[in-house]
């Protein structure tokens, strides 16, 4: 299959990411940094898409993670990465563990919209309790410390970026193992045939629930990393448009793979930058049209396009070898 291009691609891409703070201009570094954070949430959404479910509410976990950092800064003056990152993941997972008990019973539109409803309830709470949450003004989040050390001025951005890179790398590995495990395959089976799952003695709800908890952790991690890079969080982190963005990116990059969401996240930031420049009043339309095109023409997203290009090259290469 396409195994050979893989082996080359991984170290190259990893190398590029590691080298970025040294070679890339700072606006690109910012994009990469934000993309790494959002990639995690998009991954969570992609997991569900794999199982045939759409969630329009994953901004919930994104906001939970972000506000973990926000509250820690506001009430405790804490900005320690090694504490806040796992904590955000934990809170995301905890919220998912509670909501998932209920959510796992639903599919289709219900699943999509109920997730939306819950995330909008959080949004309303974040707005209403403004004396706690900073309301529409939001909260400031400083760049993180590492093991208590504040990085020297010129290394602040870089440290924050590497924290994100490490977390993204670790979670990529975790998700790869998840997808290769029985649960990961059952998730895919869920999209095909729930009846066979039930008649194997397994509970479809358990599969959905377990995935939901993992997706909550991913969302929380993405949120806290985004908070560190953007530096300022607002209740809109929980708004349905943020959830919609994650769904869009999952589609754009291709939800059938792990690299897809990352490619999508990076592409999205570039699209957003240019759309802001050339068509600032038609953002939703831009997204809608791109989404339509993807669904109708290339449902596998950018990753599928990459794979078909690679396949064509390797076929040509084989042709040359034989000739």
């Amino acid at each position: 299959m396409a195994a050979r291009p893989w082996l080359l691609a991984v170290p190259i891409v990893a190398g590029l990411f590691v080298a970025a703070p040294f070679v890339a201009p700072s606006w690109i570094l910012f994009i990469l940094h934000l993309a790494l954070a959002k990639f995690l949430v998009v991954l969570a959404v992609a997991l569900f898409l794999r199982g045939g479910l759409v969630s329009f509410g994953h901004a919930l976990f994104y906001a939970v993670g972000a506000y973990t950092a926000g509250f820690a800064a506001k009430w405790f003056g804490v900005r320690e990465a090694l504490l806040l990152v796992p904590l955000a993941g934990l809170f995301g997972a905890a919220v998912a563990a509670v909501i998932g008990l209920f959510m796992a019973r639903y599919r289709g539109v219900f699943f999509a919209m109920l997730n939306l409803a819950v995330s909008m309830i959080l949004y309303a709470i974040l707005l209403k309790f403004y004396w706690l949450t900073g309301g529409t003004d939001g909260l400031r989040v400083q760049t993180p410390t590492l093991l208590g050390f504040v990085p020297p001025r010129d290394l602040i951005r870089m440290t924050s970026y590497y924290v994100a890179l490490v977390v993204a790398g670790v979670m990529t590995y975790v998700v790869y193992r998840f997808l290769a495990s029985p649960l990961g395959y059952y998730l895919k089976a869920l999209a095909d045939n729930e009846i066979r799952i039930e008649y194997s003695g397994e509970s479809v709800q358990r599969v959905i629930y377990a995935t939901y908890v993992l997706s909550g952790a991913l969302g929380g991690l993405g949120g806290v990393l985004a908070a560190f890079t953007v530096g300022h969080i607002v209740p809109e982190y929980a708004f349905w448009t943020q959830s919609g963005e994650f769904v869009f990116v999952a589609l754009l990059g291709g939800y059938g793979s792990v690299p897809g969401p990352l490619i999508g996240a990076i592409a999205f930031e570039f699209i957003r930058t240019y759309a802001n420049k050339y068509a600032p009043y038609a953002w939703q339309m831009t997204l809608g049209i791109i989404m339509l095109l993807i669904i109708l023409l290339q449902p596998g997203g950018l990753w599928a396009m990459y794979e078909s290009v690679v396949a064509r090259f390797s076929r040509r290469a084989e042709g040359v070898e034989r000739a």
Binding site: S181, Y186, A189, R196, Y199
Partner: protein, 251 residues
């Protein structure tokens, strides 16, 4: 010698869909090791019977006992855990996965490891076991291929193989040879019966084809209008004029 306890027993099993009585106080007794065919015209309640026993439908009245344990009201996944498995008229497969992956998932479920999320699905013992299952059903050539590439008879066999992989004590099959070409029918059944005999699994199979029932069943239940109207060895039962009329529409 005391009578062996039944592996499946239904007591006054009743289910109606509006005006249609799909199951009418059915009392059935199946003992371990039997190979029982179920025949009947379309709409006589055969599939409803399977759906009721496996918990896909809930009865209006009556009880179901599997290996002596009360299973009335349990959903399919709990009934399966009691030692039952079922194959379907229209094969229920994971079409997005490969043939082998379908089997591996069944093995994972059987081992109670469906929600294991760290160690891979493709692991030594399951790969071996899965290959063995596929070989017994003659599907090993298709192992790594997508389910979509299986021919019709192959899908039927895979559907049955997935149920078999759960190592059930009682296997229910809904029309195992339907959709299979006439030439292949007996081959499929031969494969099946060999496998089942080797594993000493009690079998109930719903069938339309009388030849299949006569050749492979030790006992046959005839369904009509939600009732069991005849119960006995195939050769004699299928000779009764009432049975021939009800099932085959012959005068």
């Amino acid at each position: 010698m005391p009578e062996p306890s039944p592996i499946l027993q239904t007591i006054d099993l009743t289910k109606a869909f509006g005006m249609v009585q799909a199951a009418d106080a059915i009392n059935v007794h199946i003992t371990r090791g039997e190979r029982v065919g179920i025949v009947g015209a379309n709409g006589s309640g055969k599939t409803t019977f399977l759906n009721l026993i496996t918990g896909y439908l809930q009865p209006d009245h009556g009880r179901i006992l599997i290996m002596g344990k009360e299973s009335t009201g349990l959903p399919p996944r709990r009934v399966i855990k009691l030692g039952l498995a079922r194959s379907f008229q229209i094969p229920q497969l994971y079409i997005g996965l490969s043939v082998l992956e379908n089997v591996l998932l069944a093995l994972a479920a059987q081992a109670g490891k469906s929600t294991a999320c760290w160690r891979p699905l493709y692991r030594g013992q399951w790969l071996e076991h899965g290959a063995a299952v596929l070989e017994r059903f003659g599907l090993q050539a298709y192992a790594r291929r997508p389910v979509a590439e299986l021919p019709e008879g192959g899908r039927k066999l895979l559907d049955i193989a997935l149920s078999f992989a759960l190592q059930p004590q009682l296997l229910l099959m809904d029309e195992p040879t339907s959709g299979v070409s006439i030439e292949d029918k007996f081959q499929v059944m031969d494969t099946l019966v060999t496998v089942l005999q080797q594993s000493d699994i009690t079998t109930i199979f719903v069938e339309h084809d009388m030849d299949v029932v006569q050749r492979y069943g030790q006992r046959v239940l005839v369904f009509n209008d939600g009732k069991v109207i005849a119960d006995g060895p195939p050769a004699s039962v299928l000779a009764y004029p009432e049975v021939r009329k009800a099932v085959l529409g012959l005068e």
